[in-house]
């Protein structure tokens, strides 16, 4: 797809270029923040799997430079106008905004005015990240035990693992991860690999997050995702699954938003003994069962009657052995946001901009170069069909 047709097909691709973001995924974090007020009272943040760095860029501009991004950054003015005209339930949009809120919107939160004091942001990836103002970038494997002291040292140059107290070892307010593997198409394997990436982020978060901290990570909503929700619930008071409007409806991608880190009593995180494989986590779950599958959620006040279902299915002894729970779903970014699935007409004189940063080189880059050098094919080998 050419740049120009992608501009029409993907409003956020165009907006990202216009607003100087490294990738369209910046809007996902901004819209998550708008809904969950993620950055409130936050000064120490760790961004995992950060390359090419669009989430770190959001952190840099919001926390360090003190810029503000409200709905106006992604509002489709024509849509807003048409919504008013067509009466797409304004009261409803307002009701929406009340739903999961625990604090006022960032747009009128005084805490967000201007640059914050003592902000420390560390971005970690396996691939190098272009520098960003005020951000410490590390190239490291987040699953490696050595990464924890590396990270703590980056947050606090005086850090010494042997002398620091417990509190100093858990200084982080927010851990975010937008990492995803290249999918193979073998769905259960892709879901497994993504869950391992999520656990890698969680394991590190459990080592550095302070009680009350938040954790946000990408998740694939596929088979057995309810097992994952239940496992995350062991560590956080509230767990939501959020879909920003800038994330395509057709994509299985969503974000897990975990609020108020409350490690179970006696739990000690360690990358030497990571969660995600083995039986440690299922055992913890079994002990905590009740608290892990319940969450007080304000009922959505949108006039739709929430139903208690009558389950008439016969119990299947072989199924549902594991503890499952479905985190409440929250759509982020209000209705006037550009729609990532819609096609937009652009003015005739629209000039398509170049991306702020070219995408990272794929592993098959050399293969493409070689093929091109050989005149379009690798060599002269007959292809026969099935």
């Amino acid at each position: 797809m050419g740049k120009s047709s992608k501009d029409k097909r993907d409003a956020y691709y165009r907006l990202a270029k216009e607003q100087g973001w490294r990738a369209r995924s910046a809007f996902k974090l901004l819209q998550l923040d708008e809904e969950f007020n993620l950055f409130e009272n936050v000064t120490r943040v760790v961004d995992l799997c950060a390359a090419p760095g669009s989430w770190s860029q959001v952190l840099s501009r919001v926390l360090i430079k003190g810029e503000k991004f409200g709905r106006s950054a992604w509002q489709d003015r024509e849509a807003k106008f048409r919504q008013d005209m067509l009466k797409v339930i304004r009261s409803d949009a307002e009701a929406d905004s009340e739903s999961v809120k625990e604090a006022p919107k960032p747009t009128n939160a005084p805490a967000n005015d201007g640059p914050r004091q003592d902000v420390k942001i560390v971005s970690i990836d396996l691939q190098p990240i272009s520098p960003l103002p005020g951000i410490i970038t590390l190239r490291a494997d987040i699953t490696h035990p050595a990464t924890v002291p590396l990270l703590l040292k980056a947050l606090n140059p005086d850090y010494d693992a042997d002398t620091m107290n417990q509190q100093a070892q858990h200084p982080v307010d927010l851990v975010i991860s937008d990492g995803a593997p290249d999918v193979t198409g073998l769905h259960d394997l892709d879901i497994y690999v993504q869950s391992q990436l999520l656990f890698a982020a969680l394991n590190l978060a459990l080592c550095v997050l302070k009680p009350g901290g938040k954790f946000v990570a990408k998740i694939f909503r596929g088979r057995n995702v309810d097992l994952l929700y239940a496992q995350l619930k062991v560590f956080f008071e509230k767990v939501y699954v959020a879909k920003p409007r800038s994330s395509r409806a057709s994509s299985v991608e969503a974000f897990i938003v975990c609020i108020n880190f409350q490690p179970p009593e006696g739990f000690k995180a360690s990358l030497e003994e990571p969660l995600g494989v083995g039986s440690r986590l299922p055992q913890m779950q079994a002990e905590l069962q009740e608290s892990t599958t319940a969450q007080d959620d304000d009922k959505k006040d949108d006039g739709i009657v929430d139903m208690e279902i009558e389950d008439l299915t016969p119990s299947d002894p072989k199924d549902q052995k594991s503890i499952r729970w479905v985190a409440p779903f929250v759509a982020c970014g209000d209705l006037s946001a550009f729609d990532s699935d819609a096609s937009y007409r652009l003015p005739d004189d629209h000039v398509s901009l170049d991306p702020v940063q070219p995408p990272t080189a794929p592993p098959y880059k050399r293969a493409i170069e070689l093929r091109r050098a050989n005149g379009g094919a690798y060599g002269k080998v007959p292809v026969t069909s099935k």
Binding site: L86, T143, L186, A249, M307, A342, S343, T384, K386
Partner: protein, 1140 residues
Amino acid sequence: MSSSLIMAQQKLEHNFALSPVTALAFQDIGESTYLFVGEDAWLKIYHVTTSRLLGKVRAFYSQPIHGIHVSESKAGLANGEAGILVWGGQSITVLPPSSIRDLVRGVAPPEPTEFKAPDWIYDGILFPAGDPKGALVTAHNELIPFSVSPDGHGLTFGTLTSPSRPILYSANLCLLGPDTILVAGGTVFGEIIVWKYHFGSSRPSQWEVLYVFTGHEGSVFGVSISPEFEIAPGINVRLLGSCSDDRTIRIWDVTDRQLTIPAGQEIDSRLLTEARETGFGDNSEAKEENKNDSSRCLAVAMGHLSRIWHVKFGRSSHAQMGPVEVYSFGEDTTRQRWELTFDLKKWQEGLSPTSGPVGNLRNCSVNSCHNGKNIWSVAISTKGDQEPLIATGGADGRVAISGVQGSADSTKYRHLDFTVPLEKVLQQLEDNGEPHNTTVDEPKNKKGVKYAFQKYSFLSDDLLMATATSGRIFLAAVTDSLSWEEVLVSDTVVEDLRSYMVMKTPVKDTVILGGATGKVYLYRRGQEIMELAHFPGKISDIILLQDPSQISVENQQPWSVIITVLGLDHATILNFDPSSMKSTIDTRKIILPEHCIITAAAFLNSILIVGSRIGALTIHTLTRDSSDLVPLSSRRDPKGKDAITAICPLPGSSTSFLAACRDGRYRIYTLNASSVPFLNLQHEISPPLGMIEGAWFSSPSSRSSSPELILHGFKGKNFVVWNESSQQTIASIECGGAHRPFSCVSPPEDPNQLRLAFTKASRMRFYSQPAPFLQTLKEGGHGREIRAIAASSRYIATAAEDTNIRIWESTPSSSSSPSLKCLAIIEKHSAGIQAMKWFGEDYLLTSAGSEEFYIWRISRLDSSYDALAVVCEAVWDDGTRDGDLRIVDFDVRPWTTTAEEEEKILIAMVLSNSEVRTYTYSPETNEFQLLAKGMYTGACPTKARHLIIPDSEEVHVLTGYTDGHLAIWRTAAGAAGGKEAELVHEPIKVHQSSVKALDLVMLSGEATNNNSRWLVATGGDDNALGFLDLSYDPAEKSYTVQGRYRVASAHAAAVTGLCAVAGGGKEGEVEVVTVSNDQRVKLWKGGSAKGEEEFKVKLLANKYSSVADAGDVEKIVDEGEGKKKVMVGGVGMEVWDLIE
């Protein structure tokens, strides 16, 4: 469908599934070879030579099988010691030999016990004897031994062992000795770790890292350890093959040469304490002692167009330094054969980083094995020097196999492949003292160009005629070789046929030849050549009127051909009667339109159909005024000027025929013999051939089977023979491209046998095969995700991500295993299909990206050839200037108005720019008429449904959007030409985000007024199931929302498909089936039961679905059986019975 459905409490029962084949393994038992096939959670066993499914068993509750290990010890099996190990994800089970015997006998074995390993498993192995029973390797490079209890129902895992825990994409285990395993793990970051694990009671378990290979620039998706090969006297090697995201295959030397490796535990501690840098191209696992390991890379090669999933070793030649066969299998559905050879000199100098690779991988063949994308599973069985048995399993659910040794007596044609230069033929005649024409013995013509082969024609399946540009005529008798003789003719004939001739075989053992001087000659086997006729000009072509498939059958009936002569305004029918040996010129001249060059012809009774060089088809008949065959009417369907290459009447039909064309399509027409006869196009399709050169129907020996359509032609540089009925390539032979002389023959009853002769690089290639190289062990379906399903009362249509549409029919369920038969495959869309609907049984409508909207006419053929005729009747062309919108959804209904008599199709469509449009389509004029347009907020629509208001000529459309709302649009009665559709009710919120699925039923029974009432069920991206109780008051012309209800976490993931299966009418409730990305299929009942006020939702069924990434669910009513079913489509497809 929406008005009244019968209500009764129902449940779901699994009926049929077609899923990706994700595991394969061969096993020999006695004289027979069997193939284990892992398809979703099912383990199936097939008999290889007969392709018969013998038995199946569900290995796991809700986990696809990813691997099968068959114990290599045959003695073990016989002694009841071994069995097979099956794994997938974290699940494993061990099937005892008794269960395998049950499966082979078709008896259901005892249900296997499923165990869960602590992590995802990439490979597993069973030990020949003793305890532990076997071992597994996990996605974190850990080895787990396991033991099985004596009764087989208990399984215990031993201690996990690992030198380091990077996350892997592939692993392979190889038993080196009684207590040693070699482990190879390919990491996400492009490295390969090779380590050894010792077990056994005598010594404590321990490990040692042998090598860490770096070099791959992307994730390593496949690793495979070879057996030991002797590549030269005294040189034994063990190789490791790897394949990667970087599109390369690499071969590494992992031969154990008793090098002293430092004890493993030390490496362990260092690895874990040092801070590591990680990333592609950088050493993460590799430490100082591993820095030279990468010089053990023997060869690197590229061949696949996309990612490579597997690499495997085949045979090794006993010749010095190779070659060793290597096979690779990729996302591009190809399997590629490579030959690995070694440079002995470099080898003996030893491996060093500077010497360069000592091995070379040569790409020998590329075979596309599956539809769509991905080969997910592979099995190879080698037996000495025999062609190895290779099976591949695809995302399409198909199992393709090569190397099956057929029983010798069932085939006539042996495998032969010769390349023959003309000089060799002449030499052979000379050497054998065969009589030959000595007057034309110079090897070159006057211009100094060497004589070469000119034309080929099979006289029967064991006799080939080949002519030379010198004018000489040769015959080759086919046995295990070709034995040549020359047809002796006079010098004048040689002169006449030199440099120009046409040659055809009308019946067995007969050839008719035409030359530049207008003479036509006849040759009959064993007889001398004779002159049949003399025309006043160069013979431009000889057109056969007989079925060309019959040339291998004895026939003494009279036959006819059409002779066309350059510059003549007519063509001539030449008749020949073998009993009298007389030829006659038919009194009926074929009168040709100006500039018409005939390329194919056939009689339908007394009507002659003529195909031309520019693709026109003309009907010729005798008329009252003329004794000649005069052209009456003509049509031309190919877009360019491509020749009609064959016209074949359909078997058992006197009115329908097939015309093959060089534009790559074939078309089926029906002759409408009215006063002015004309042709109806009934079917038009592009099989995977670039240029069709010929077509014929097979004559099955068994009367119960239907004739199959066989096409041949050129595709790229290959000559391809294609079975359109089974959708399989019979042969694909590299020939250098189109436009070359060729001739081919097959037994009429067995199109899989083939003999072919053609010219390549001025030499003749002769090829003969007993069976296709690749055969289908198990039929498949779509190779990409199914996005839409539509069912008529007779057919089911499925449309997939790869733009293909398939039309299926349930096969009679007299057989124990229910299944679906694919009747047609339609490839025309260029963008992803978004929605599909039937209108009655005769029309299928499809919409896609790039503003594609097609109307297909579907009909049955009047023939014993059992196929469905499909033709694209209309293409919607009222799109935007850029033509880049998606037509996301649409709905159809019959439409008649008081003003018009014709029943039209009323179409409501929604486009990705937030627009809704209404059209009528006239099946008579094939025209669309725009009624009205409406624009929503800018949000993308997802669903559109008609709301039918009784006795109203207004059009009401319910639409769903990505913003979670529904809207209702009204097109006023009599609207036309793009009037604005009006929003009738303010948008109704039903979900928090996208409305992904929607269905509705109409409620009745409120006799108090004329209100219409619907129960609308919706599935959302927000995991919720919604119910909307909606009513319309025709007096007030207004809608009222009676209630909105939500089941918040109906599924664990987005609800992507929903259909109503019962309810509506007088019932106040509706039953719906929902599908989701969480791979559950659920049956719900929602509504207010009769006489009750309260709205209730009940969950009636909740089952694991084999379909990942489900895109649609559709109700199917099988009228024959009176059964109700639903079909789920996504990655594969699945049918569930609705049982009361």
